[in-house]
């Protein structure tokens, strides 16, 4: 038995190392790929021996923040998804299925139209409001009583449809359609350090809070009765997790629009790789989420080369078939 545990532990460490390596490699590749390729050696030089050349400026002010943003958002969304799947005990839960993304998106669009001069820092709060409303609406349905996967998926889909069509409507009636896609799909094009700064406090806070909750979540997942028996305040855990989800997802949508499917896919992969303990799943999801979004963003450069496409398209094109795969597996997914 001991050998097995040691093996598992070793395996987890290896996976951890590979992931960190992938993340860093991803950041480098992300920075070097763009409307003009910059060699990896140049990238390294720019990062560690910065000079005043144009290339360095490009890397430092445009590409690097974008890569960092991708990692942050990926991590936030993945952890949000993991939390949601845990507290609703539903393997299909994710900020997108729950209407959290769509709610935040709608709130921002409305805010932008009503108050066009609003600074990005303040629109984050609108996003929180929207994601809270979206999430609560669907959660109200999920709370108490037996919630099967289908009910959740269908309810979430209905809410998502509603919010998306409202968003669509609002924008279509206001003419400029190129921006619509951005708000319906999510993109990190053209983001810079100011966006990173807006997101950073919320992400860091949310992620840390989530990691701290890891143990309680693991217990909660074992079953409500068990958890209460073990002295955990179930409702409180649920509430705090819900708030964390809103913070993580809401801030991400505020900065980059509703990037979907990360919160859905990553927790499943994480669970497969490191087992069912949430104290491990949560940080690992963060890592994986960052990796996934960075590579997805790299891919997004090539859809309509040399023009950039929203990264939400790539996550959707990867995520939707994954969703199908999950759907086919049926409802015997162990938490």
């Amino acid at each position: 038995m001991n050998k097995n545990i040691k093996k598992q532990r070793a395996r987890r460490y290896i996976i951890g190392f590979i992931s960190v390596f992938l993340l860093i490699a991803g950041i480098f590749i992300h920075v070097s790929v763009g409307s003009s390729s910059i060699g990896i050696t140049d990238v390294i030089k720019a990062l560690f021996q910065p000079d005043n050349s144009k290339q360095t400026t490009v890397i430092q002010t445009l590409r690097l923040p974008r890569a960092v943003l991708a990692a942050l958002i990926g991590a936030s969304l993945a952890v949000a998804g993991a939390l949601m799947q845990a507290i609703t005990r539903n393997s299909l839960a994710s900020p997108q299925v729950f209407g959290v993304n769509a709610g935040a998106s709608l709130a921002i669009v409305v805010a932008t139209i009503l108050f066009p001069e609003l600074h990005s820092k303040t629109t984050v709060y609108f996003a929180f409001l929207g994601s809270a409303l979206g999430g609560i609406t669907v959660y109200l349905f999920a709370a108490g009583g037996k919630v099967t996967h289908i009910k959740l998926a269908l309810a979430g889909m209905a809410v998502h449809l509603f919010l998306s069509s409202l968003t669509q409507g609002v924008i279509v009636l206001n003419e400029d359609a190129t921006d619509v896609l951005y708000w319906l799909v999510g993109s990190i094009n053209g983001k810079n350090w100011s966006h990173v700064l807006i997101l950073l406090p919320w992400s860091v806070f949310g992620l840390l809070a989530a990691f701290i909750m890891g143990r309680s979540i693991s217990i909660l997942v074992l079953g409500e009765n068990m958890a209460t028996g073990l002295g955990e305040k179930v409702q409180w855990i649920r509430l705090v997790s819900g708030v964390i989800v809103i913070i993580l997802a809401g801030s991400s949508v505020a900065v980059a629009g509703p990037i979907g499917f990360i919160g859905l896919m990553v927790p499943h992969i994480a669970r497969k790789l490191v087992g069912g303990d949430y104290q491990r799943i949560l940080p690992f999801s963060a890592l994986l989420g960052g990796i996934l979004l960075i590579y997805a963003d790299i891919l997004s450069r090539f859809i309509a080369y040399p023009f950039e496409s929203p990264v939400g398209i790539v996550t959707a094109l990867i995520g939707a078939p994954f969703f199908l795969y999950l759907a086919r597996k049926g409802r015997n997914i162990k938490q």
Partner: protein
């Protein structure tokens, strides 16, 4: 017994609906017959075929802004315009107040209003209104021209077609001659900047859309002697700051949307500050309606005069 009653209800409903459909088909015949009772007609060739337009139409409905411009250049007032409910935009176009009826958005003009105006000519945009061409023809003779995706040259062709349809060929010729003179004069005034690269772009809160040599304003500026910084077959090109700094135009023209702008964030970036146009104070903000929406003989002259003024009033 119960099924019998249901059957009766259902069959009554079915018969009713079939009757209504037939009635409608009959009605359709009516309106198309009314068409052919007109005397003199001019055959006008347009993007979707040839239409017989009555001579000297008095009541014209136009569904795009460039057509308003064209009619303005010919001294004709349309009775109906698809103005996106923006009356002041139209007043800006024709430089004054004008009485007309709004027929809704250019995207989805209201067919009921158009028909209630009883026009004798409708001018529509072939890109936006291809799907309703048949419906428009039912109301009045319709010609569909290039407007939304037109180049400067195509726009002038459209102007000539409109002149033919409204029987103002001679006036058109005079106007076009005047236009060429105006352009030649403007060209002289910007002779110093001849050959410099210029980039017109529409800026929104999440995108910077450059207008290439294939766009209307890009093509027009090239006609004035400039070179569009982006040469392409596609009229528009989304750009990020990196690409912009690679292209580095001599003159930058920004048609800004209302509200937040992407360029606001760029202004603090050294890449922006190092742009040739920024360093030489040749970044100009222009009116979006005039530069990208109006399009036409009259408006292009306004664009040209605008350009000259901006370049020569170095008041930065």
């Amino acid at each position: 017994m119960k099924t019998g009653r249901k059957l009766k209800i259902v069959s009554v409903m079915a018969i009713l609906s079939i009757l209504l459909v037939l009635a409608g088909c009959g009605a359709k015949q009516d309106s198309t017959d009314k068409e052919s009772s007109n005397n003199q007609k001019v055959a006008v060739k347009h993007e979707l075929g040839t239409t017989k337009v009555p001579e000297n139409p008095k009541r014209i409905v136009v569904l795009e802004l460039s057509f308003v411009d064209a009619l303005h250049g010919l001294g004709i007032k349309p009775v109906g315009i698809a103005d996106d409910n923006k009356k002041d935009m139209i007043e800006q176009l024709v430089n004054g107040k004008m009485k007309y009826t709004s027929v809704g958005t250019r995207q989805q003009p209201n067919l009921e209003v158009i028909s209630s105006l009883k026009p004798d000519l409708i001018i529509a945009d072939v890109q936006r209104h291809k799907a309703i061409y048949k419906d428009l023809q039912q109301i009045a003779p319709t010609i569909e021209l290039n407007s939304r995706e037109s180049t400067y040259e195509e726009n002038i062709d459209a102007f000539k077609t409109i002149a033919k349809a409204t029987g103002k060929d001679k006036k058109a010729e005079e106007r076009l001659n005047k236009h060429e003179e105006t352009i030649a004069e403007l060209k002289k005034e910007v002779k110093e900047e001849n050959g410099q690269t210029i980039l017109p772009a529409v800026v929104r809160d999440t995108s910077f859309q450059a207008h290439t040599s294939a766009s209307y304003d890009g093509g027009f500026l090239e006609n004035l002697g400039f070179k569009d910084a982006v040469q392409s077959k596609e009229a528009y090109a989304e750009m990020n700051l990196e690409q912009l700094s690679d292209i580095n135009p001599d003159i930058l023209i920004l048609a800004n949307n209302e509200g937040k702008l992407l360029t606001d964030e760029w202004k603090s970036n050294p890449l922006w500050k190092n742009l040739k146009a920024v360093k030489n104070h040749k970044v100009f903000v222009v009116d979006r309606n005039l530069w990208t929406r109006f399009r036409g003989v009259v408006s292009s002259e306004a664009i040209g005069k605008d350009t000259v003024k901006l370049l020569h009033d170095q008041q930065k």
